[in-house]
């Protein structure tokens, strides 16, 4: 007999581990699961759902600003005769189930917080024709408004979950080397005011930070290496377990397991952590075991901004962490919110000066964004209390204290959005070129002219950073005091194109010179 089938719809491009864990849990319980990418044509999604005849369609709603689009898709499926159970899961529906059940009336239920066990139980109830309204961890609409069932505690032991389902072929590669997302832990014990992770886990009974057995993590890496040829692992932990004595022990066991599984020196990995967790001796050992790039949530370079975001770190802490990473020869990337609710013209200038220090050696492109008040976060509540919250559920926004900053942000965003955001943006191209550089250093045999190529990369990164930060200051001057003249979008785009052309010319010339060495190494691997 054909097993009952379930369709999960979400963003797949960046390796959606959330859907992957839900899918593998369902598969382990005997259900047939098909994962569809939200960006596929609606007609293709409809066709796939029709042919699978699922008992349930689950929508993975990671980004709250896509609620209307998911609602539109759900409505399209319903209009075309899909009448099975519709549910949604993810951070946003977990925290705002009232809004979601109202905004997406086609949903029969919402799966709240960790979805693996709840969704599996919901599907089991549907298959067996039992009343699903009492499954713990869900919310649903009723005639009067909505109903919620008691919360399901967080999964105590993450090692009880099967390895997540992944596409057979990794979409993301670097010079032919395959990558895969992976998790070592869930949760974060900090409480940054803009982040919904703590709100997500904090409302549910159970330990807020759970760490997998490092031996199991390495077993998963070994399987991906052997079966899918993955050699670059991208840890997506909210905060990789490197904190305190516990972190040191975990890392020691992780490194021992890498040796035991013969992955030491054969794979590389990326982590995200906080600046106050970066220690020279520990990170040097991790580097030797394959760590090659560290993502730091820097977020602000001025003390008021850091306090507003409740980072519990000083700007100097970030600079110290970056100095350590450079000293132990590790790459880094970072998140930075040039604008936050406490922003003033002065703080923006301080942030620009800070970014100049961060990126002074041209080893990393300058990137920044504006803090957005996501649902359920302390900063959202604070802004609402101050009457500054505006926008809509799917597009939350706020007013700055100085009204001129609203226009300043709009103007700057219009000028530099294409520079920073999107696959073809200059910042993304520079980041990727640096990624390739580090992968060549760590996973390929020595190639000729790498040092000279690094110098060229630094040069173009340094010059483009200088232009971008000068531009921010110019726009700042204009909006604060009407001084100076702002570049036109066309001028900024032309500048971005010229840096991009320079980068690609240097990159392609270097790759071409070493093509045979690189291809021979890929063949031998």
């Amino acid at each position: 007999m054909k097993p009952p089938s379930v369709i999960l719809i979400g963003f797949q491009e960046q390796g959606n581990l959330g859907i992957g864990y839900v899918a593998s849990t369902l598969i382990e319980r005997g259900f047939a699961v098909r994962i569809l990418d939200f960006r596929e044509r609606r007609e293709s999604i409809l066709e796939a759902v029709r042919s699978a005849q699922p008992i349930l369609v689950g929508f993975s709603l990671i980004f709250q600003y896509y609620v209307p689009q998911f609602a539109e898709l759900a409505s399209y499926l319903r209009d075309n005769g899909i009448d099975c159970h519709f549910t949604a899961g993810g951070h946003y529906p977990s925290l705002r189930y009232e809004d979601v059940t109202q905004d997406v009336p086609q949903l029969d239920s919402v799966v709240r917080f960790e979805g693996e066990l709840t969704l599996a139980e919901l599907v089991e109830h549907l298959v067996e024709g039992q009343d699903w309204h009492r499954v713990p961890g869900i919310a649903y609409r009723t005639d009067s408004r909505y109903a919620v069932t008691p919360l399901r505690p967080l999964i105590p032991n993450l090692d009880d979950l099967p390895f997540p389902t992944r596409p057979l072929e990794s979409e993301l590669t670097v010079l032919g080397k395959k990558t895969s997302p992976i998790l070592g832990s869930r949760g974060c014990c900090r409480d940054c005011s803009f982040c919904s992770i703590r709100q997500f886990y904090g409302q549910v009974p159970g330990k807020k930070v759970r760490v997998r057995n490092p031996v199991h993590v390495v077993e998963e890496m070994r399987t991906l290496h052997d079966e899918n040829g993955v050699s670059i692992f991208l840890f997506q932990d909210d905060d990789f377990p490197v904190w305190g004595p516990f972190g040191r022990r975990w890392i020691a066991q992780f490194i021992d397991a890498l040796r035991a599984e013969e992955l030491y020196g054969r794979v590389i990995w990326k982590i995200s952590c906080r600046s106050d967790e970066v220690q020279p001796e520990l990170f040097a050992r991790m580097r030797d075991a394959g760590l090659y790039v560290v993502y730091l949530g820097i977020e602000s370079g001025n003390e008021t901004g850091l306090r507003t975001l409740n980072k519990q770190l000083a700007a100097e802490d970030h600079l110290r962490a970056l100095a350590v990473l450079k000293e132990v020869d590790l790459a880094f990337t970072y998140g930075f919110m040039l604008f936050d609710p406490s922003s003033t013209f002065e703080s923006i200038r301080q942030n620009v000066a800070f970014l100049r220090r961060v990126a002074s050696d041209g080893a990393v492109p300058v990137v920044f964004c504006r803090m957005l008040p996501y649902a359920g976060t302390p900063i959202e509540q604070q802004l609402a209390k101050e009457g500054r919250l505006r926008g809509s559920v799917e597009n939350p926004d706020y007013d700055f204290l100085d009204a001129r900053l609203n226009s300043f942000f709009e103007e700057l965003n219009g000028l530099v959005a294409h520079w920073i955001n999107g696959a073809n943006s200059l910042a993304n191209q520079l980041n990727f070129a640096w990624q390739e550089y580090w992968v060549i250093r760590r996973l390929f045999p020595p190639v000729a002219g790498l040092q000279e190529y690094e110098r060229l990369l630094r040069s173009v990164t340094h010059r483009s950073n200088g232009y971008l930060l000068d531009l921010v200051n110019r726009v700042c001057d204009q909006f604060e005091g009407g001084r100076g003249c702002i570049a036109s979008p066309a001028e900024v785009q032309a500048k971005s194109r010229s840096f991009s052309e320079q980068l690609l010319a240097d990159r392609d010339a270097f790759i071409l010179r070493n093509q045979q060495t690189l291809l021979d190494s890929l063949k031998a691997a």
Partner: protein, 70 residues
């Protein structure tokens, strides 16, 4: 020198960045956003056409110069 001589595997393919957007979402954007997107697109076209015009004029000058010197 360009991508045509670089092996397929080694070509420059930056990863997607930011939130992926379904192509049909464009149907749902409000008028102000659509107008702004059109504006950016047209400005980009304008910049490209201006650059091409400049290159065209420079090429013509060179060719005419060469023709004159012959």
């Amino acid at each position: 020198m360009g991508n045509d001589v670089i092996n397929q595997v080694l070509r420059f393919r930056p990863w997607p960045q930011g939130d992926p957007v379904a192509p049909w979402i464009i149907d749902q954007l409000d008028k102000v956003t659509l107008v702004r997107l059109t504006e950016v697109g047209l400005e980009l076209n304008q910049a490209v056409l201006q650059a091409q015009l400049k290159a065209n004029a420079a090429a013509l000058d060179i060719i005419k110069g060469v023709a004159r010197s012959k």
